[in-house]
């Protein structure tokens, strides 16, 4: 489904990502882990078109999508959520998700019909699925952090993605919130047959749901495999798991 080949990126001579390759099979749940500064978010930005790689290739659904604009990738079926919560803060919860529906279904260039009632059933169903229906009319910027993350997931799902890229979906959450939101993500991915690729710092989360794990260290892949393989890898134990404890 997603094939990353030898992708590289430097900032002012500092190599943030140096020749990273991995594959995400359709329907799988894959995770990218690594210490802070390992290049996880940069790698995400390279895949999703926010940054253009210095070299290498990103292939999505057998199509070379290296460096194409985010709004085009989005139309091809790649959905992404962000590490720092990324919503439309002065719009209501309802308007946030509805805007995504309007745009994704190509109604954004309509200048003359009232937007208010457009895609109401779809929006409400999706808000129900992410557990935000009672808060539909609240201004999204005033929601709790956990709720904002749920909303972000809702916005992303409105784009009917085939693959979902989640950058630290549980960053800043309490242990309970983390467990709940991981269960939510897992359920939604299963219901909709989504492919998931996520970065995460919480090892318990990663090893409990991921089918495949790619370990990044200083911009390079040091291990790639099933959770059991990665857990047993001596290099990983040395640079990452060992250091973390």
């Amino acid at each position: 489904m997603l094939d990353v080949r030898e992708v590289r990126k430097s900032f002012d001579g500092f190599q943030a990502v140096g020749g990273v390759s991995f594959t995400v099979p359709r329907g799988s749940i894959s995770a990218i882990i690594g210490p802070n500064g390992a290049g996880k978010t940069t790698l995400f930005n390279l895949i999703t078109g926010h940054l253009v790689p210095d070299g290498g290739q990103v292939v999505f659904k057998e199509r070379d999508v290296t460096g194409i604009a985010p709004h085009d990738l989005c139309r091809l079926g790649m959905g992404r959520s962000f590490q720092r919560t990324n919503i439309f803060p002065r719009l209501t919860v309802y308007e946030n998700v509805q805007a995504a529906f309007v745009c994704h279904r190509g109604r954004g260039w309509n200048l003359f019909t009232p937007v208010e009632r457009l895609y109401r059933p779809e929006t409400e169903a999706l808000l129900q699925a992410v557990g935000l229906l009672e808060k539909a009319d609240e201004t999204s910027g005033f929601l709790s952090h956990g709720n904002q993350k749920q909303l972000e997931l809702g916005i992303t799902l409105a784009l009917e993605p085939e693959i979902l890229l989640l950058d630290e979906p549980t960053a800043g959450m309490s242990a309970t919130e983390t467990r709940e939101s991981i269960r939510l993500i897992e359920r939604i991915a299963a219901d909709r047959g989504l492919t998931l690729l996520f970065t995460e710092h919480d090892m318990e989360v990663v090893f409990s749901i991921a089918h495949r794990i790619t370990v990044l260290h200083q911009g390079r892949v040091i291990a790639d495999g099933t959770p059991a393989e990665v857990r047993g890898d001596p290099e990983v134990r040395r640079v990452y798991l060992g250091e973390g404890r």
Partner: protein, 333 residues
């Protein structure tokens, strides 16, 4: 905030009431008040067109007067030099301004924030300089005086049958015409901001990075709204040239751009009618205070400072907060 104001508008048709009241200004007030009302109506359209950019899309233009000036010259030149009827010369102002906005906007939307603002200003100053120097076409420094009024002969003919419309001066006829045209423009603008397109603009204002990743082609939307805002500013300029009985290069000067920006901020860019309210208050205050003291800019500056600190949402924001307080109290008790 935007939707809250819109919600109130549906319960009481304020816009319609104001429009009807405005038709009685010539009959009720003096000639001076008709003049002032005409000025306000045109500037209200100009400021509201700017608010498409500033309030709805989050693009601060420092050069919006360029399109106002281009519209004024278009209508002026067509009517005075080519003898074209107002029926064509007026829409032409919008079309020509839109074309210029398309060209300038193409470059401007490639920049963000202060760089965007500076480039809009640069283009506006180019427009001003050309208007100021190109004597053969624009009249240069002297400007282009004596733009004719549209032909109101038909109104006088109706007046012989329908005495209600009789007995007004040409300037008052023009005021009525302005009211109708601006009301139509406001109706269109209102539809646009409440449309799916309008919603996409607010997502760009709120978070352009995220907007890209719900599939919004941010630059293309920004260019589209830049052209729309330019078109309506051009229409306002077309009316203003006739109202002012002449078109001058300073219509496109940066002071005009800042004036319209101040109106938008003063009135409140969070509400659809905020900039119109700003135009009313600023022009009325200007007339009142100028007749009392020469320190008008000082007083205006003080008012602005107070407003920005006390009511960040502008006058419309303050009125909205007041209404919320009045409405909530009885229902809460």
């Amino acid at each position: 905030m935007v939707s809250a104001v819109g919600g109130a508008g549906r319960r009481v048709p304020w816009a319609l009431l104001v429009l009807v009241a405005a038709f009685f200004v010539p009959a009720a007030g003096s000639r001076f008040y008709t003049f002032l009302a005409n000025d306000v109506v045109i500037w209200a359209l100009f400021a509201t067109s700017l608010n498409l950019l500033v309030g709805y899309t989050g693009l601060v233009s420092f050069g919006h007067a360029a399109y106002f000036g281009i519209g004024a010259y278009t209508t002026g030149i067509l009517m005075k030099k080519a003898g074209v009827t107002f029926l064509l010369a007026f829409p032409a102002a919008g079309v020509v301004a839109a074309l210029f906005a398309l060209v300038f906007g193409f470059f401007c939307v490639r920049l963000t924030k202060i760089y965007f603002a500076m480039l809009t200003l640069a283009f506006a100053q180019i427009v001003w300089a050309i208007c100021f120097k190109w004597n053969e076409v624009t009249g240069g420094e002297q400007g282009m005086p004596e733009i004719p009024y549209p032909d109101f002969g038909w109104l006088e003919r109706i007046g012989t049958v329908l005495p209600v419309v009789a007995g007004y001066r040409t300037s008052e006829h023009f005021y009525f015409l302005t009211l109708v045209l601006v009301a139509v423009c406001f109706w269109i603008l209102r539809r646009i901001v409440a449309s799916p397109f309008g919603r996409m603009l607010t997502t760009i204002r709120e978070n352009p990075e995220r907007a890209e990743f719900i599939g919004v082609n941010v630059r293309r939307y920004e260019l589209a709204v830049f052209v729309l805002a330019g078109a309506f500013a051009g229409l306002a300029g077309g009316l203003f040239g006739i109202f002012n009985r002449g078109v001058f290069a300073d219509f496109a000067y940066w002071t005009k751009s800042s004036e319209v920006l101040i109106m938008t901020l003063l009135g409140g860019m969070g509400a659809f009618y905020g900039p119109a309210l700003g135009a009313l208050v600023l022009l009325w205050l200007n007339q009142q205070i100028v007749s009392v003291t020469e320190y008008w800019p000082l007083i205006l500056g003080s008012i602005l400072v107070i407003l920005l600190f006390v009511f960040p949402g502008g006058l419309a924001g303050a009125l909205g907060a007041l209404r919320d307080r009045l409405v909530r109290r009885p229902s809460g008790a």
